[in-house]
């Protein structure tokens, strides 16, 4: 396992559904409601708790969107921090379990 490996998983407390390529996410605990753009949706959908964030950025973001890898990683880390602050994503340096997002 690489050093500083970050795993992300969707919280089981949330509701989520894709609408025209964007993900709607709602946390029932506080009724916060978000829509995620295409790039954020790709990260959210890949948040299976088993794939390291660095791998998600490399395979799901850099390969599909024309972005600088360093910038993509920094943006992804900021996005993960924001959603984990709202209880939408769980973050760990160990693998986690997660529900599949549709």
């Amino acid at each position: 396992m690489p050093e500083n490996c970050t795993y992300i998983a969707r919280s089981s407390a949330i509701a989520a559904r894709a609408l025209a390529g964007e993900m709607m996410v709602m946390n029932s605990a506080d009724s916060t409601f978000f829509t995620l753009n295409e790039v954020a949706t790709a990260i959210f959908q890949a948040a299976d708790g088993r794939t390291p964030l660095r791998e998600i950025v490399r395979d799901r973001i850099c390969e599909q969107f024309d972005v600088d890898p360093g910038q993509a990683q920094a943006d992804a880390e900021q996005f993960v921090a924001e959603l984990s602050g709202h209880g939408i994503l769980l973050v760990s340096n160990q693998p986690l379990s997660s529900e599949p997002a549709r």
Binding site: S12, A13, I14, A15, A16, R17, A18, L19, A20, M24, M26, S28, A29, S31, F33, F34, T35, E99, A101, R102
Partner: protein, 372 residues
């Protein structure tokens, strides 16, 4: 425009069924005097059938799912259904009388991540509430259940349906909601029985009483704007659609029947024989509902209220035509603004006249949410 409204509009424009109301049973442990349902079981969907329907709804893009009835807890598999729905990541709301919710059930509801529980309370006076539900001690049990749910930190909304027996009690129920730290909504909607029997419409509150509700600052925000005379309809108003029924919302019955709305009994298909998306996309009835714009309405297109009226196409359908007026909403518009509707003028009425032929008044307003 709020993000939620924006998303709702997007779903409407794309024809995505973003919200579904599903009754899992019509059976009930109460016998409310105003209830429009037949409580016998005529062949409810099985656990597996409902799970299969939920899978299809998730694939179709449904996000907001309301489980209702009947009383949902009459089904022994109800938690299994909620668990399946939450695994599919629906935003789940439950409508219940809560009589069967104890500490254990409240804990389970929280664990499952249910968004909101809406509970009917008819009065702050036990004898009035129990007389409406016809279940002794139901008030006491319902209020105790609300406490259990609130102890779990769950969001509870008290729905206060107003009718002749309780229309002076809304302030008391609102106060009770505040004491229980629950939200409060008021709803003077009494609909005909599912078999078309209009006898229960006699329970609707008199229009003059509704005027008082509209002018009560504790119940209606932005009262001046809400009760203002209608503005002249614009071209945009006439190009508009009546509501989300059949556009981004629909109703599924315990028998698998799909309707545009819980209050719009136009059969469009059955999930025991057809796939949900086939019904949603290709049902001629669903397509007809979707095709109706304000300019197509036989009477209402020439009404000054057309841009602001909450005309319900389902109630209009029950009156005879989904393109026709809904007398109940005409009365609401009149008592809200004091301006007669085109339907009233057509009939030569200076004030609304009941269609039931007796002393009942036809009053319908959409739920008014008031912060607790």
């Amino acid at each position: 425009m709020s993000l939620m409204t924006e998303v709702g509009q997007k779903a409407f424009n794309l024809g995505v069924p973003i919200a579904v109301h599903m009754d899992v049973t019509y059976r009930c442990n109460e016998r409310c005097v105003h209830c429009y349902l037949d409580h016998d079981d005529h062949g409810e969907m099985t656990t597996d059938e409902i799970k299969g329907v939920l899978d299809q709804l998730a694939e179709a893009g449904v996000f907001f799912l309301t489980f209702s009835g009947g009383e949902v807890f009459m089904r022994r598999d109800f938690f299994e259904l909620v668990e399946h729905a939450r695994r599919l990541m629906f935003n789940v709301k439950i409508k219940t009388n809560a009589v069967m919710i104890h500490e254990e059930e409240a804990r389970r509801i929280r664990e499952l991540g249910v968004d909101t529980i809406q509970i009917s309370v008819y009065s702050h006076r036990p004898e009035v509430h129990d007389a409406i539900t016809k279940l002794p001690h139901s008030f006491e049990r319902t209020v105790q259940s609300i406490r259990f749910l609130r102890e779990q930190g769950l969001r509870v909304t008290i729905a206060n349906v107003l009718m002749t027996a309780n229309y002076s009690d809304h302030a008391g129920v609102q106060q009770l909601a505040a004491e229980l730290d629950a939200q409060y909504t008021l709803d003077p909607t009494i609909t005909p029985m599912m078999d078309g029997d209009t006898g229960i419409l006699a329970l609707r509150i008199p229009g003059e009483e509704l005027q008082q509700v509209f002018r009560n600052p504790m119940l209606v925000e932005n009262q001046e704007e809400f009760c203002a005379p209608p503005k002249a309809p614009s071209e945009t108003d006439l190009e508009g659609y009546p509501c989300s029924a059949g556009h981004s919302f629909c109703y599924v019955s315990p028998y698998g029947d799909v309707f545009p709305c819980v209050q719009f009994p136009l059969p469009t298909g059955n999930l025991r024989r057809q796939k949900f998306l086939d019904i949603w996309n290709f049902s001629p009835q669903m397509q007809e509902v979707r095709s109706i714009q304000a300019k197509h309405l036989t009477v209402c297109s020439s009404c000054s209220h057309v841009g602001s009226c909450s005309r319900c196409p389902g109630l209009a359908y029950m009156e005879g035509s989904m393109r026709g007026p809904s007398t109940a909403d005409c009365e609401k518009s009149f008592y809200r603004t004091g301006v007669p509707t085109a339907n009233m003028l057509r009939l030569g009425l200076s004030k609304p006249h009941s269609t039931t032929g007796d002393t009942a008044h036809l009053i319908q307003i959409r739920p008014v949410a008031v912060p607790a």
